[in-house]
């Protein structure tokens, strides 16, 4: 990476803005996009890699890798501390990333975007800060049967501590939440709804906007777990009218160890700090500490600066392609894969919601998902097998585990063909 090619943080922020507001995205060209992802050129077991585990983690384009290298090579120092050149450069790049994330989800203000270590950390922050302040004995928290463990366990821990109760929204056999039963769960003890935007195990797109509007008629705030939505669709927190929105960097082509919590400023300002330490204080004496305003109040200690800047570069990259174009390409792939697999003998699709994103969960008759995963790997095809951190959902579906193919915008029809051929090869071994 030469220095002249490396954009300054200000240029990065400006580029992101341009990509979202000025330039219409170029025509979607998947082969050109694949050139940005060096890892897609790997061979596995002597076959070209077919990476279909994007719901677990997506791959990183060269643009983001370059941004990380540039930061470490030319810009690194601790932020918010010193007056020297590098500290100011690093601080500017870190705060520019926050603005890029703000625009990516259309948050009203940059200070409403808190950098966390990821979705799990974001949810724990809300549970431990907002939750411990606002949840009392006898209160109720509404979750759904589709939730990932990271949107269950933090609330259970809180409920156990406070003597609160978890209520669960059921779904139909297709994997769609039952809205009438959701509405019936509300009463005067309901304090919070926490719901996934897209199911990681089934791909169902939940009607979160409608669910939020209903919760608000009861004065109940809503947290949306966007871990599986942010990579696949345009997210507008103002249009959703959600109170909290969380997602992880590594699922949007960014680094691991970084994610965000969006929260309404009024809520965040009223919440106590989650972790104590440096960077989150205003003044400290041994008698009393006053806390910094948001977002710093929730960013104790030196944050993962490079990862935050990398996440900014990643969402700029996605915005440059265009989230609508990404969603359209992935829907085409999902439909193509669904059509093929629905007619394959011995294949059962799990999750047939009318609105789905990028995930295809399946069972092969008489073949355990772990055998499927091991044998597909021999065809170069990477899928996920297991319970996908959704054990309550697996119980609801009556299975111990599934195989899951999950798509990203850099996947192709050829990848789907390789999956289908791989499934035939697995079935042949067990025939």
């Amino acid at each position: 990476m030469s220095q002249q090619l490396a954009p300054s943080p200000k240029v990065v922020a400006r580029t992101a803005e341009k990509a979202e507001t000025a330039n219409p995205p170029a025509a979607f060209d998947v082969e050109r996009i694949r050139q940005d992802f060096p890892i897609l050129g790997l061979t596995v077991a002597g076959k070209p890699l077919v990476y279909l585990d994007n719901a677990a983690s997506s791959q990183m384009p060269q643009q983001v890798i370059d941004r990380l290298v540039h930061y470490q090579t030319h810009e690194h120092a601790n932020i918010h501390r010193a007056v020297h050149y590098l500290s100011e450069t690093a601080t500017a790049a870190y705060e520019a990333a926050r603005v890029t994330l703000q625009r990516f989800i259309n948050a009203p203000e940059a200070r409403e975007v808190i950098f966390t270590s990821g979705t799990t950390d974001s949810i724990n922050l809300v549970a431990q800060s907002w939750g411990r302040q606002n949840i009392k004995a006898g209160d109720e928290i509404i979750l759904t049967v589709l939730e990932h463990h990271s949107n269950i366990v933090p609330w259970q821990m809180l409920a156990q501590e406070k003597g609160a109760t978890i209520r669960v929204v059921p779904m139909n056999d297709a994997g769609e939440l039952l809205l009438d039963q959701y509405e019936a769960l509300f009463n005067d003890r309901t304090r919070l709804v926490s719901v996934g935007h897209v199911s990681n195990a089934l791909g169902s797109v939940n009607p979160v906007k409608q669910m939020i509007a209903f919760a608000h008629t009861h004065g109940v705030p809503v947290l949306v777990d966007g871990a599986q939505a942010a990579p696949h669709m345009a997210v507008d927190v103002q249009d959703l009218d959600c109170d909290f929105y969380v997602f992880s960097g590594h699922k949007v082509c960014g680094p691991t160890g970084i994610g965000i919590l969006y929260g309404r400023a009024a809520l965040l300002e009223a919440m106590p700090p989650y972790k104590g330490g440096g960077d989150m204080i205003h003044t400290v004496t041994f008698e009393k500490t006053t806390y910094a305003p948001i977002p710093n109040k929730f960013e104790a200690g030196t944050p993962p600066i490079a990862a935050a800047i990398g996440l900014g570069a990643a969402v700029s990259y996605l915005s440059g392609i265009g989230m609508e174009a990404i969603a359209a390409h992935e829907h085409t792939l999902l439909n193509y894969a669904t059509e093929q697999m629905a007619v394959m003998p011995g294949v059962r699709l799990l999750g047939t919601a009318r609105k789905k994103a990028a995930v295809l969960s399946f069972m092969l008759q008489g073949i355990h998902p772990h055998d499927v995963g091991t044998l597909l790997n021999e065809e170069g095809v990477a899928v996920r097998t297991g319970h996908h951190c959704t054990q309550p959902l697996m119980v609801r579906l009556g299975v111990a585990a599934t195989s899951r193919a999950s798509f990203a915008f850099y996947n192709t029809r050829a990848d789907v063909d390789a999956l289908v051929a791989g499934i035939r090869a697995v079935q042949k071994v067990f025939a």
């Binding site: 990932h148 992880s248 091991t374 067990f430």
Partner: protein, 162 residues
């Protein structure tokens, strides 16, 4: 023995998966144990009748992947009629081979069980292959339940995901 993972799914393992030996339950077993890997979904029940320190009868049933089921099937065939100390020796040899700590040719009692030697190249699957053997050892010790996941996983492969 090949370490090509695909070679693991060879005829003998597939055959035991399709037609598991000693599959079912025993009336009034003297020993029994349950092997459960909740994260992966493997779950087997093992029952034995031990008389004069000899495994006279043995049976298993449950839900599991092909590796686990074939391992359980071949284990029951291998230990039936053996003295419990011989079965213990075999269990140690099998676990050492499966985890890659010993080669099949250095395992004097391993015999046909050498078809599982390739599993050591698949750390995520080792716990599937050794679950029946841990369950056997649990039954010998009159422990009701065992697992080869988490702390009990010799390969320390965390499971779970996003």
């Amino acid at each position: 023995m090949s370490t090509d993972p695909k070679a693991l799914y060879q005829e003998v393992i597939l055959d035991h998966n399709r037609k598991p030996r000693n599959y079912g339950e025993l009336d009034h077993p003297s020993h029994h144990a349950e092997g459960v890997n909740p994260l992966c979904g493997d779950h087997i029940h093992l029952a034995l009748d031990i008389k004069n320190d000899t495994v006279e009868r043995i049976a298993f049933h449950g839900e599991s992947c092909a590796i686990c089921k074939a391992s359980a099937s071949m284990m029951t065939a291998a230990v039936k009629g053996k003295r419990t100390e011989e079965a213990e020796t075999l269990a140690h040899e099998f676990v050492d081979m499966a985890t890659g700590r010993a080669a099949a040719q250095d395992s004097p009692h391993i015999g046909r069980l050498a078809v599982f030697s390739g599993i050591s190249a698949l750390p995520m699957r080792v716990k599937c292959a050794i679950l029946p053997w841990h369950t056997l050892q649990a039954a010998f010790r009159s422990e009701a339940c065992t697992s080869t996941e988490a702390d009990a996983d010799p390969m320390h492969t965390p499971m779970g995901d996003a």
